[in-house]
Amino acid sequence: MKKLLAALVGSMALATAPVALSAEATKELKMAYDADPVTLDIHEQLSGGILQLSHMTFDPLVRWTKDLGFEARLAESWERVDDKTMRFKLREGVKFHSGNELTTKDVKFTYDRLKESQDFKAIFKPFSGINIIDDYTFELVTSEPFPLLLNTATYIFPMDSEFYSGETADGKKKDAILKHGNSFASDNLSGTGPYVVTSRQQGVRMEFERFADYWDEESPGNVKKIVLTPIKENNTRVSALLSGGVDFIAPVPPTDLDRIKRDKDSELVTMSGTRIILFHMNQERVEAFKNPKVRQAIAYAINQEGIAAKIMKGFATPAAQLSPAGYQGHNESLKPRYDVEKARQLMKEAGYEDGFTITMMAPNNRYVNDDKIAQAAAAMLARINIKVDLKTLPKAQYWPEYDDRSADMMLIGWHADTEDSANFYEFLTFCTDADSGAGQYNAGNYCNPEIDALVEKANVETDLDKRAAMLQDVEKRLYDDAAFVPLHWQDLAWASKKNVKIEPILNVMNFPYLGDLVVE
């Protein structure tokens, strides 16, 4: 099914491309993000910024389409050999920036390096090995049947094995992954992607030039040069666009959406995102939170729609579960359940009519309006007699507190790296287990082995329809149990000059496929 979809999308791209085929890349694009990539080594850190860089300078085996299907990139085709094995055929004649040609040995090199990377090894844990059949055929093998094999393949951006092997002049290994200090890979890059890094001044600017030998000749992209400037301050970033200093910015702060809509030279694109914002209720710190009725009361007392409308200015989709629409676990029947009367009723039934006092912590510079959301939630809880002692902190100080689970209710946002529901449960609702790393961010200490077992079962179910039903059941149970308080999925927004056609290259993962960008 997925493959069919990929073929379909591929042929659609073919149908629209020929006009652009002859188009010479001549345009220049100036863009501003809130930060620039921290390194050129795409295996050093698993973060949005690094994945955006990966899509500019490398190509994955397969990539996500706008509707969360798969599109063939460096892997031309793939087929399941058995439950645990997928065979890929590599595209031929693909060149790296260095001039080397892409073969399966580069894929193997990349796979081995991913397994070493501190940030990526967790995602690749289900894989047990890679079999090289010939120069253009290889198989990925997992230890258990693994339904998310293709999801994970979107993280395999083959690296130039020849370029990254050997030693530098001062005797350092070129393939080393170093979190601090400079490694060869953090300063040098050779991928197959549409853009070559031509200059980089960290924190100041970065320049890219279209790769002359780029394999994808059907790509409509016509941008020759990209200048990326990190502009951290929201207001400055928006001003830079409005004054014509840059052509493309992301993210756009919710307070400035109207300002950009009003500007006749600019275009705004927004999308419902996949990052869930939620509160955990710590059952180990607060006796009352052990009672499902109290947790439900809190879920009833929080007005998700109000927060999305008033605080987020409509820049969020109210949530009643973890999985956003489009994910397998997304359960249509679950709706936000704001009802203060019902909440009071539940508190009374649980014997907490007079309420109690709790502590709450939230970051104040990590998510959009995070501190204001926490303040609103605290005010809402006051209405069911729960007195909240709120503390907001900058993210650098918040996360150590979060790791210690040092408040009764804590706010967190989560994006599933695998674009799959199971990732949410594994990190946010699984019974905490320090050894396996399960429930690492489950600051509620919620624990329901039955649900965990169901997720584990879904994780080895390769029949995707069956799997979806199981995951939706998980969402329903978590909802009924009020395991946490979901708030909303943070929306995404980008803005550009009218002549920069960003809409077709944007997606919910927030990896703009700049290689295909058309500037008129």
């Binding site: 601090h180 200090g181 400037t229 207001n235 004054s243």
Partner: protein, 349 residues
């Protein structure tokens, strides 16, 4: 003179020692540097291993001694984020900040002296009153706001449609109040001239100068009113003194009295304040640089704080401490030149 310099150098060392101790002592409150270095899904084990590697698990005293041992040899450690020596990072960012301060200082000097002197000589003139009024407003508006307003007016542009467009005067007023915008609103531009070392200058190209205008004006806007008022007040006081009256009685020309005799004595306190203010200005650059995404040390420092890049924070604070000591020393030297009765080492004259 030599004794004076020795005294100042030892002072500088003491200041830097104290700063480094304080910076080290507060680092626990700055948060966990690891958060910026690893992805969310990295396990606790991996984090612990990295922490061990960075030496973050050692006691504060051990960490400080390790740092101090290297610092004595001129090595202030590596920035976590940039992955290179902190002094190198600072030297790459410092020229941008210095150019900003130089530009703003030039604006302040060129404007505050004539306006201050004018307002002192003709305190009753309408124009003088206007300047004083504006300066009061200027001193009370935060630099953040000034910068945003400047960007809106001169960079994005504003369209005024308050007056009836179908009348000649209305159209003229609308046109006169609207602005085109067009000045760069961020960064230093891409046409910088390499002077030496890490110094790339924006003073020698049109694009570089255009990029300097708004940030420099914003930064100058905080200090300018202060200097106008200071010069005016000092000058008025000097103009009352006996030797000026005597010069007048002697029949010297007004220009000679005002600009040679009076101004010289007016400048003494202004130089002292100016020296201190240059230090303060370095602090204000943090705000200005943030608004204009100016790649100087101020912005670098602010980002280092949000990333808990402790080595860079410590090094920056030490460098700024050094700058303060050096500017104060220079001020004292200049002071001696302007007023020969001042003895540097405090011995009796």
């Amino acid at each position: 003179m030599l004794a004076f310099l020795v005294q100042r150098v030892s002072q500088a060392l003491l200041v830097m020692f104290v700063i480094s101790v304080i910076a080290f002592a507060i680092q626990d409150g700055l948060g966990d540097p690891l958060q910026e270095m690893v992805g969310m899904s990295v396990s606790q084990e991996e984090r612990e291993a990295l922490r061990e590697e960075l030496g973050l698990n050692d006691s504060m005293v051990v960490q400080y001694l390790r740092f101090a041992g290297k610092a004595i040899q001129g090595d202030l450690g590596n920035s976590y984020f940039y992955g290179k020596p902190t002094l190198e990072v600072i030297s790459e960012h410092l020229p941008a900040t210095l150019e900003l301060v130089i530009g703003a200082s030039l604006i302040i000097m060129l404007l505050s002296v004539p306006i201050g002197v004018y307002a002192a000589i003709r305190p009753q003139a309408l124009l003088a009153k206007f300047f004083m009024g504006v300066s009061t407003v200027g001193i009370s508006i935060p630099v953040f706001l000034t910068a945003i307003v400047l960007i809106q007016i001169y960079s994005i542009g504003i369209t005024v449609e308050w007056f009836p467009a179908d009348t000649g005067w209305g159209q003229w007023l609308n046109g006169a109040l609207s602005t085109e915008g067009g000045l760069p609103s961020y960064g230093r531009g891409d046409d910088l001239t390499h002077l030496f070392g890490t110094w790339y200058s924006g003073f020698f190209s049109e694009s570089g100068l255009l990029h300097l205008i708004l940030p420099c004006v914003s930064l100058a806007s905080i200090m300018l009113p202060l200097f106008i008022r200071l010069i005016r007040a000092e000058m008025m006081e000097v103009l009352q003194s006996d030797y000026i009256r005597y010069a007048r009685a002697k029949g010297l020309s007004a220009v000679r009295i005002n600009f040679l005799h009076a101004l010289k004595n007016t400048m003494l306190p202004v130089i002292t304040v100016g020296g201190v203010q240059v230090g303060v200005m370095v602090a204000y650059t943090i705000l200005t640089e943030t608004v204009f995404q100016w790649p100087g040390v101020g912005l670098m420092f602010l980002e280092a704080i949000t990333r808990s890049d402790i080595p860079l924070i410590v090094a920056y604070l030490m460098v700024v401490g050094l700058i303060f000591v050096v500017t104060n020393t220079l001020v004292d030297l200049v002071y001696g030149l302007v007023n020969p009765t001042v003895k540097l080492t405090g011995k009796k004259a």
